[in-house]
């Protein structure tokens, strides 16, 4: 079964256009920070609340439609009252602080992101069709797929929690990663070595891809949380805050921490499953389910560090900043496994396809 080079090129084109669209989304998100002065006039913002809200509220099942109205009014009051630096952001810090309705620039940015994601998905699928298998057999494909999952998860967060102004912090790394993938680690479509020729590739690597993409979102949230938390402390201490305007638009530190935690709670079982699926595959391919191969070791280290994070979250004195640092450490281990171990340490998992 020869590889379809035409499809492979099509995939490249899709992905390049996706990067361009993501870049435009980043520009729009950034422009919203810079120029998107949220006018105190509520009318236009409220007008598009009803078509946004149901998605977020839908899970609330029995809530009568009136709650939509309530969300609208909360949003409106946040908009109207949000003039004093930092006041509404730090006051409640709890759940019902419904984020402001998206401004025009944010809507444009979300549009670009969605269009980019569509092409991103198309690029991944055509790559898979080109090589007649799941498109995550080498490092380039893996990175492309992980970033695809990250964008997908990010859009899911946007729908569920509506932290619109986090968009910049999500999409900027995505653009950088995708750009690097297309330039530095690009690998032409090719067949797999016999060791990878197993249906476990679809199971094990899919789980790892899903978990990695989700952990990536969690890491971005942790970074933003650390800044927001610092800002909150400075405000509490009465120190000057140059970026009050920025943090007022972002979810509160407590909220960020909560979303980050839920992200990890979502990804951790998938990662666990991925390791287990990998162990079963290793057992079939190499005759042992665990052999401390460098990649296995680092997957284990990543797992342990994220387990530390989960435990730290419920341990007095370890919540907040420390837990966030642990989470970032976990993501650092994940990245090291993906980049450092694949490229610099020889092991059974040396499939990066780079030389």
């Amino acid at each position: 079964m020869p590889d379809n080079q035409g499809l492979s090129h099509l995939s490249d084109h899709f992905l390049i256009v996706a990067v361009v669209l993501y870049s435009l989304a980043v520009i729009a998100f950034a422009a919203d920070f810079a120029f998107g002065r949220r006018s105190p006039v509520v009318a236009p913002a409220q007008a598009d609340v009803p078509d946004r809200v149901p998605a977020g509220i839908a899970a609330g099942a029995g809530a009568p439609p009136a709650s939509t109205l309530a969300a609208g009014t909360v949003a409106a009051s946040t908009l109207a009252g949000g003039t004093g630096p930092g006041s509404p952001a730090e006051s409640g810090g709890s759940r019902p602080r419904t984020p402001a309705a998206p401004g025009r620039l944010v809507r444009i940015a979300l549009l670009f992101t969605t269009a980019g994601l569509a092409l991103h998905v198309a690029g991944v699928i055509t790559r898979g069709l080109a090589v007649h298998r799941v498109p995550w057999g080498d490092m380039y494909e893996f990175v492309i797929s992980v970033s695809c999952v990250a964008v997908l998860f990010f859009l899911g967060l946007m729908i569920k929690y509506r932290p619109y102004h986090l968009g910049l912090f999500f999409m900027a790394p995505i653009v950088i990663i995708m750009g690097l993938a297309q330039t530095v680690i690009y690998t032409p479509a090719g067949p797999l070595v016999p060791a990878l020729n197993s249906y476990w590739l679809a199971i094990h690597v899919t789980a790892m891809t899903l978990a990695s993409g989700t952990f990536m979102v969690g890491a971005v949230l942790a970074v933003v949380y650390l800044f927001a938390e610092r800002h909150t402390r400075r405000v509490a201490a009465g120190l000057s805050t140059r970026y009050g305007e920025v943090f007022r638009l972002l979810p509160s530190a407590e909220r960020l921490d909560q979303i980050a935690y839920r992200t990890v709670v979502f990804a951790f079982p998938i990662w666990t499953f991925g390791i287990m699926a990998g162990a079963i595959w290793a057992d079939q391919a190499w005759g042992r389910y665990w052999g401390w191969d460098p990649t296995e070791t680092w997957a284990f280290i990543t797992w342990v560090v994220y387990a530390c994070f989960l435990h730290a979250r419920v341990t007095a004195g370890w919540r907040g900043r420390r837990a966030a640092y642990i989470q970032l450490l976990g993501f650092g281990c994940l990245l090291f496994n993906l980049l450092g171990v694949s490229l610099f340490i020889t092991g059974l998992h040396s499939y990066a396809g780079l030389s």
Binding site: A59, G60, A61, G62, A63, P64, A66, S67, A70, G93, S94, R95, P96, P188, G190, P191, V193, P194, N197, S198, W200, E254, Q258, Y261, R262, V265, F268, P269, T272, F273, M276, A279, I280, W281, D283, Q284, W286, G287, R288, Y289, G291, W292, D293, P294, T297, W298, I301, V304, V305, A307, C308, L310, H311, V314, T315, A316, G317, W318, C333, I345
Partner: protein, 569 residues
């Protein structure tokens, strides 16, 4: 340990060395005198089983694994360890002393995970007991002021308070809450499976460790290189490498035998990944015991052969050129394939040595390379492709003493050149059928052809299936503990000022890692409100009042005033 609701700082009595700020100030002054042996033991046990200690041990486990991935490991790549000794002669012995070439079998590594699992057991087992006990006790009475709970809602009902409570209890019962009723209140709890999942997860980890230990005690691993057309039996002497578990004796080996009839490999023939392997097929025949029925199978990567619970994997392949050597006396003293080992290039260039100890008057030795597809690149011989399209052998010849009688074991892949002198033979790559005539009548070597070999991994691990069960249980427990939340819902109903019944609903998630209790509560509050409307005939009349004016809607409208304080513990 996961999701320990009580912060350990509060749970364990603050010990003398425990400088935790949350330690209650009401602790009696620390006086070392009551600390007898039992006191110290109890204190130590509490320290060990505290979450903080478990966290530190978890961290240590992660940190301790790092050198195992960065330094070469004896159990994974022994030759890389030897290489490390050569390149770092001063450092290597020190690293070896610290077991850093064998991290995952090191005593300090074992100390970390054993302490961790002890800490885990000390935490989890008492909690299992507590869970069993609390599952039999009814939920606590409803607090007085439900509006103070993280989640609360209020609505009005035309039903009498008792009937409204009955309706609420019906809804909660329907949703499988455990209930307790009192004077004017209903208290309900749900989600014990979360704690159960948490316990299952941690106990499954213990079981996983036991499974690994089981494999380590009763399992074994072995390697064997098998040249096409030859056989071997699964006995210790026939194996190239044998790593038995602690409680394995040579007689425990399953007595199968196996023959490699034919081996084929296919490779990518064009494009950027030219030379990359595509398929390996080893056609083998085997029998489970001597004289048993012979079965044929195609051994492939990812498709091991299972004989009596022992599994045989193909983990490598290469070429074994066949040589015939005639010594100085004219006798054929050597005629067999010699496995050459790939040097790691894509063209499968392989090196090897031929030792002819039976040659007279001098022993003969040859060292060289096998090139499956030999090409001349600027006077340098290389292999351009892994398949045998143009097989050539290039050898350097020696005569003298091979040093094989000294008693010390010798690698079959290297020549001990101490007692050997190189013979002046013009290096010339041999095609199949070509010979080297050694000077001085020392003999003749003929390259008669080649065969292929495969290397097999033979493993037996009785802990494998228990490990799988433990892993699945751990995952199931993890999912339960993450996605089931333990929550309490309280309902109070009492007569309001306007003759209607006021129904207060309060909710509290004791652990809600994945989030979503607020949404569940909103839905539940809505269902309770619907249920308390009573028979539909009275519904419209009674609700007409509040709905007709705008004011009660904003102040009173029950399901909209769902509040939350974010913190759910």
């Amino acid at each position: 340990m996961t999701g320990l609701r009580v912060p350990p700082g509060a749970q364990k009595a603050a010990g003398p060395d425990d400088g935790t700020p949350p330690g209650p100030p009401a602790q009696p002054p620390r006086n070392p005198s009551p600390f007898g042996l039992v006191g110290w033991a109890r204190w130590g046990w509490r320290q060990l089983t505290s979450m903080r200690t478990a966290l530190v041990l978890l961290f240590l486990l992660a940190v301790a694994s790092v050198p195992g991935s960065l330094l070469p490991q004896q159990g994974i790549n022994p030759s890389a360890v030897q290489q490390y000794y050569v390149s770092h002669p001063a450092l290597a012995p020190w690293l070896a002393r610290l077991s850093l070439f064998n991290v995952f079998a090191a005593p300090w590594f074992a100390a970390i995970y054993l302490l961790l699992f002890l800490s885990l057991a000390g935490c989890v087992i008492p909690r299992s007991v507590r869970l069993a006990r609390s599952a039999r006790t009814p939920p606590p009475p409803a607090p007085r002021n439900l509006a103070r709970l993280p989640q609360s809602a209020r609505h009005q009902s035309t039903l009498e308070p008792a009937a409204a409570l009955d309706a609420a209890a019906g809804v909660l019962r329907h949703r499988k809450f455990r209930m307790r009723t009192g004077d004017g209140w209903v208290s309900a709890e749900k989600g014990y499976r979360r704690e159960l999942g948490n316990l299952v997860f941690h106990l499954a980890l213990l079981a996983l460790l036991c499974s690994v230990a089981l494999g380590g005690l009763f399992g074994y691993k072995a390697n064997r290189l098998l040249v096409s057309g030859t056989s071997f039996a699964n006995t210790v002497t026939a194996l190239d490498e044998f790593h038995p578990g602690r409680l394995v004796s040579p007689s425990d080996l399953q007595p199968f035998s196996m023959t490699l009839n034919r081996f084929t490999a296919s490779y990518v023939t064009s494009g950027p990944s030219r030379g990359q392997p595509l398929t390996f097929n080893a056609y083998v025949s085997y029998s489970a015991q001597p004289g048993g029925a012979i079965r044929h199978d195609n051994l492939r990567v990812n498709h091991p052969i299972n004989v009596d619970g022992v599994r045989v994997f193909i983990i490598g392949h290469g070429y074994a050129p066949v040589f015939r050597v005639t010594d100085g006396t004219g006798k054929v003293v050597f005629n067999q394939p010699v496995p050459f080992i790939s040097v790691g290039t894509s063209g499968l260039m392989s090196t090897g040595v031929v030792k002819v100890p039976d040659a007279h008057p001098d022993q003969l030795g040859f060292a060289g390379v096998f090139l499956p597809t030999a090409v001349d690149v600027n006077g340098q011989l290389q292999s351009a492709f892994p398949a045998p399209l143009n097989p050539r052998v290039s050898l350097v010849s020696y005569k003298g003493n091979l040093g094989m009688n000294g008693g010390a074991p010798q690698s079959v892949y290297t020549l001990n050149s101490a007692g050997l002198t190189q013979l002046p033979v013009a290096p010339r790559p041999l095609a199949a059928g070509q010979s080297i005539k050694l000077p001085g009548g020392a003999g003749t070597l003929t390259f008669t052809g080649y065969r292929q070999w495969i290397s097999l991994a033979i493993t037996y691990d009785p802990g494998q299936f228990p490990a799988l069960i433990a892993g699945v249980a751990a995952l199931a427990g993890l999912l339960l503990s993450f996605f089931v939340r333990r929550r309490r819902v309280f309902v109070r109903a009492y007569p309001g000022p306007d003759g209607q019944t006021v129904v207060d609903v309060g909710g509290l998630a004791r652990s809600d890692p994945a989030g979503g209790f607020d949404e569940e509560f909103a839905g539940l509050a809505g269902a309770l409100e619907t249920a308390s409307r009573g028979p539909s005939t009275t519904g419209p009349a009674s609700t007409a009042g509040p709905a007709s004016t705008a004011e009660p809607r904003t102040t009173d409208s029950p399901s909209l005033t769902t509040t939350s304080e974010g913190k759910s513990d």
